[in-house]
Amino acid sequence: MTEWVGIAAITVVMFLTIGVGARGVRIARTPADFMVAARAVSSPVNAAAISGEYLSAASFLGIAGLVFVQGLGSLWYSVGYAAGYLVLLLLVAAPLRRFGAYTIPDFAGGRLQSARLRQGSTVLVLIIGWFYLLPQMDGAGLTLQVVLGIPYWIGVVLLGVVVSGNIAMGGMKGITFVQAFQYWLKICAIGIPALALLAYAGHGSTANLTSSGAPTFGHPTAVTVPQAVKLVVKRPTDVVATGVVDGHADAGRHLVLEPGTHSIGRGSVLKFRAGATVPVRILLVQPSSPAWNSPFVSVGPDGAHPLAATYGLIIATFFGAIGLPHILVRFYTNRDGTSARRTTLIVLLLLSFFYIFPAILGVLGRLRAPQLYLTGNTDGIVLALPALLMPGPVGAALAALVAAGACAAFLSTSSGLLVSVAGAFSHDLLRGGVRSFRWCALGAGAVAMLAALLVENFSASLLVGWAFAIAASSFCPLLVLGIWWRGLTWRGAMAGVLIGGGGCCAAIAATMLGLARTGWAAVLLGYPAMWTVPLAFAVMILGSLASRRDRPADVDQIMLRMHLPDTLLKRTR
């Protein structure tokens, strides 16, 4: 019964998205599409479209899950994702719109007059785009796994086929109204369940929020373990077990779980007393994390230097939004620089509104559904919560709504990203054209699909955080210096992008391979933005100063075009 509501909701979202998108016949993001949109779209609609494309599976599923598992410090993800738009508003929104480039490679090539820099930026667009695509695929696999009970890889393949096939067929082009619709769908799909659950289950003790140790059960709780798990128990815990515990079959036997690791068989039921400490699934165990209610994030088994890790995350998210490949193109649908500013401000409002809800869900999970520490999955908390807190048809309906929202989240973001990636590939690296674009869309989708199968155990927010870190240490300095400093040259920019972006990619690869697990090495490699962003800025400035003769001859005209007020520009017509 419950599954059918979820299946219906997901199917409706898929067909709505594809159906509305498929009405467009031409492939995405030709200048003409945006010229048309530029005249027709108002700032609120445009802002909803930008937010709709921006709010990905990492925002929808990931943040609440991280808050639940790691603690309130993970809220820096939502703060940073929103604050990234403030930085974008302050530093690039209006001048970038006036410059008129559709993509970052276009900006790099046009501002600095270098084809080589343009190609270099294209490669980086591909890397960032893929990094951002992974968590979307990951979210899709997980959502379908939780809702439909199908294996993870089927969900990944399904999303990959649907999105890349749809884009290759020419659907889902950058239709502003589809993306705007996606924002309102997502805010309803997370806001309504969050508020309903808060009203229904929000009252009562808040002990789990402030206790520095492990959470406890608020009332006697029977937990059904849907799949075999290994649990970590910190202090002796009384349970009544039905099923298989540590290899012994029990039928309603009372036993004490001693501190250590215990394996629980599939389908077992464990009954805990009120006040019992919640055992934690071994996958979710934080080797050593700062107190749950502290504003820090941590990395590595020793959780060393949480303050530095937190600032690494802050720098990456605050400065990363500027450099995301699928965001810039949306700014062209603004009428002029002034409306680009207004749109960005509304985006900031819409994002702030949205990001209150993942926090509510993550906190509610810890307060009222600590059994998810036994059975849950970091990114699956949001999906599992409604049915747990509100048994019955209402809970099932809310769960279906959440599933539909998650579906909208990864569909819209992965479509936007895949269009950017495929467009960059076919347009800037190959010969271009519709055929090449189609093959690139299919190829990029397939690569992302394969990679997503390898990252099942990485949290969506972590992966997206890394995409932000790469963007912050390559494109952010390129755009900021290109807009505000006449002295930037293509050689300086290229050196900065290579060293900053390359260093960041290398650090992330080292972290994924597990090369550095402890101490400063783990922090500097796991949250690389704190050193790669300043490094990229420094290299770009020094490199440009060293190659002064490469300054484009028409730099004054370009600066004029980016900064001249819109009223003066219009008067020259």
């Binding site: 480039a101 600032y311 926090a359 004029l560 007020p565 008067r571 020259t572």
Partner: protein, 130 residues
């Protein structure tokens, strides 16, 4: 090689206004274009100053919280209406601050552009009298 050959700027959409600007056909007369350049440089500097001040303020307000908690660990245990301070600040509190800074910036940036336009108009008017 690339430095000498200007790259073709594909799919950079310039309206007629931007094109005429690039070709030096702006509505101001030729001798005034140098003056316009000087004015634009001062505008850019003023806009950058505004942006950096707002950015510094935003960072000081939002990103100072972890440092505060590291220096005074007892702050972490503070409760507001029964909820942890971290939840109140990061979950809700920072967003109005960010929005207010954004709104302030948008107004101030528009004001700078209005002042600049008036300056140019005045220069235009003076040139027109000749």
């Amino acid at each position: 090689m690339d430095g000498e050959q200007p790259a073709p700027i594909r799919s950079v959409a310039w309206g007629p206004a931007q094109t005429s600007l690039l070709n030096g056909q702006v509505g101001v007369s030729q001798p005034d274009r140098d003056y316009l350049q000087i004015l634009v440089r001062s505008l850019i500097r003023a806009q950058l100053g505004l942006s950096l001040v707002c950015l510094a303020f935003a960072l000081a307000v939002t990103a100072s919280f972890p440092i505060l908690c590291a220096v005074l660990p007892s702050v972490i245990g503070v409760k507001v209406l029964g909820l942890p301070l971290t939840l109140v600040t990061l979950g809700v509190g920072v967003f109005p601050v960010i929005l207010l800074i954004g709104a302030f910036y948008v107004r101030q940036a528009a004001r700078l552009e209005r002042q600049f336009t008036q300056l140019v108009d005045r220069a235009d008017g003076a040139a027109g009298d000749d």
